[in-house]
């Protein structure tokens, strides 16, 4: 009897080791739900901005030279469907407010693949991950950035209006030269000034700006080149710097937000254990919600009416919370179970976590705690009798991370963690000070620029 009990215990413990490799990922708001679901370490994320680019990315990575379907290792793709549309008359200023249209505009779809999808401690297979990310609430844009952006947009519209008008007037003058061969090279200024007086719709600001431009036109302006000179003068001297400023503010408005931010993620894995496209499993699927709060700082109200929104700004301090549920496919796990008389019921994984972030100039730090609850059931039939037991896989993970950006691609970091792999007592992490040299790597600045959502 004692031997029989020992055998059952041994077999059950073997089943446990066959349980699907389920690790706790960082609590940091995932930009790639698909990769999170299959535990893929992605080297590079493809972010196609057109349907053609999306098609090219998929075909290049999932078809081999003989046009056979292959699953690439470490491939990841994320796109925002709205950004693939024509975006007719889309105004980015919509993202500065909470408009209902922003909900579907901010949906992003991700896809990742790996050849190292962990089934258990010793078995790996291929896997595809599909994810959907929805921003439910996107915080408030830093008031000063919002004001500066709206001012830059207004200036841009004003300059475009002035350029379209003056270039048109200058072309009128150039066209009239043929009929007035006696016009000398300076008559165009008189012509333009007269033309200004015939257009009633001009605002005082635009009229004044046009007068200044006409007065300041370079000496090299003549009857032959007036339209080109006017166009170049406005474009290079005024619109160019303003457009650079505008696009820079657009990027700031994406990241410099304060208050609550909520994000819902869903993802599923797909595995082809025999490399046959028509034989697949959904090994696991899950959903999680991240809610973060970036502390705002009240600033003294600017009396300038142009800066009406600048009463609060984002601070470097952020709190985040996460709730996650993941289901592991029983059939998939048991297909890798070598003992016919045994079965494993992995159950749901419930995770809850908290994180505190500080991101100030070149220094950043994160303190994170995640708690997991899981009840799995192991069953084995011996001599016609069924034995089962419930295994408590509860656990937690603690992680402290400190970073200092020495340069754009050189980071000095310090990490300390407890239960880093969450598979029992092992897995504590103390990396001490390490120097990460990102040779040829993606820079933070580039990642921010590539953010597909707004």
């Amino acid at each position: 009897m004692k031997n029989s009990r020992n055998s059952i215990a041994l077999l059950l413990s073997f089943i446990t080791s066959c349980a699907i490799g389920q690790t706790l990922e960082d609590l940091r708001a995932p930009s790639m739900p698909a990769a999170t679901m299959i535990g893929s370490q992605v080297n590079e994320i493809s972010r196609p901005r057109s349907l053609k680019a999306l098609e090219a990315s998929l075909l290049n990575n999932f078809m081999d030279s003989s046009n056979n379907f292959v699953i690439p290792d470490g491939y990841a793709l994320e796109f925002n469907p709205f950004m693939l549309t024509k975006r007719r008359n889309f105004n980015y200023a919509d993202y500065l407010e909470h408009k209902k249209e922003n909900f579907y505009r901010n949906i992003s779809i991700s896809m990742a693949s790996t050849n190292s999808f962990l089934v258990n401690d010793s078995v790996k297979t291929n896997g595809l991950g599909f994810g959907l990310r929805m921003i439910l609430y996107n915080g408030q844009v830093d008031g000063a950035i919002k004001d500066k952006y709206l001012i830059a947009v207004g200036k841009s519209d004003s300059l475009m209006s002035v350029q379209a008008d003056l270039t048109s007037f200058a072309q009128d003058y150039a066209d009239s030269i043929g009929n007035n061969a006696n016009l000398d090279d300076k008559m165009f200024k008189v012509f333009l000034l007269k033309k200004l007086n015939t257009v009633a719709r001009l605002s005082e600001g635009n009229r004044s700006l046009m007068l200044n431009i006409i007065e300041d036109l370079p000496d090299s302006t003549n009857n032959e080149n007036i339209a080109d000179v006017v166009e170049r003068y406005i474009e290079e001297g005024m619109r160019g710097p303003n457009l650079d400023h505008l696009t820079s503010l657009m990027k700031d408005a994406q990241t410099e937000r304060y208050g609550f931010r909520a994000e819902l993620n869903t993802a599923m894995g797909l595995s082809f254990p025999t490399n046959d496209f028509f034989h697949s499993y959904v090994p696991k699927y899950g959903a999680w919600i991240n809610v973060s709060y970036r502390i705002p700082k009240r600033i003294s109200k600017n009396t300038d009416v142009k800066f009406k929104n600048a009463d609060k700004k984002a601070t470097p301090f952020e709190f985040a919370g996460m709730l996650r549920i993941i289901n592991v496919n029983r059939e998939f796990v048991n297909s890798y179970q070598p003992i016919d008389s045994a079965s494993f019921e992995p159950g749901f994984y419930f995770d809850a976590g908290l994180r505190f972030n500080v991101d100030y100039k070149k220094f950043s730090a994160g303190l994170e705690y995640i708690y997991r609850q899981n009840r799995s059931t192991e069953t084995i039939t011996v001599d016609g009798n069924e034995y089962s037991r419930t295994v408590l896989n509860d656990g937690y993970k603690f992680h402290l991370n400190l970073n200092y950006n020495i340069k754009d691609n050189i980071v000095l970091s310090y990490n300390i963690g407890k239960n880093y792999n969450l598979d029992g007592s092992q897995g504590d992490l103390i990396s001490g000070f390490t120097l990460n040299l990102g040779f040829g790597d993606v820079k933070t600045r580039e990642l921010l620029n590539q953010n597909p959502t707004r």
Partner: protein, 122 residues
């Protein structure tokens, strides 16, 4: 950058009756443009309601120029769809840069393309 000037004899619009003629413009891919028409110096931004550029009598037989100042605000290519229409009559579309066939080759990297196209009304 130079101004992208399209041909003067490229587009024709046959007026019908005495209905007013309008222009409007749509910008795609998050771009922005402003267009001035030299028939009456009307100006329109993308997304604005259509603006009158004259009536059948005032522009019949004339070659009308449309001058645009565009802006590319993302990495996506600019695309401006201009629609000229007549009340009770026809309409015509000019898409920049797809329909552009001028001498200076269009550069997709141009962040502030200025362009001109003409329509002969008859």
């Amino acid at each position: 950058m130079s101004i992208y000037k399209d041909g003067k004899d490229k587009l024709e619009f046959t007026l019908k009756g005495s209905g007013k003629v309008y222009m409007s413009v749509d910008a795609l891919n998050q771009s922005r443009t402003c267009v001035t028409c030299n028939s009456n110096n009307a100006q329109v931004f993308n997304g604005d309601p259509k603006k009158e550029i004259g009536n059948s009598n005032s522009i019949n037989g004339k070659l009308v120029r449309f001058t645009g100042a565009g802006e590319k605000r993302t990495n996506d290519n600019v695309k401006f769809v201009h629609t000229i229409s007549q009340d009770g009559g026809d309409s015509i579309e000019y898409v920049f840069p797809q329909d552009y066939t001028g001498e200076v080759a269009f550069e997709e990297s141009d962040e502030m393309p200025s362009y001109m196209f003409y329509i002969k009304f008859s």
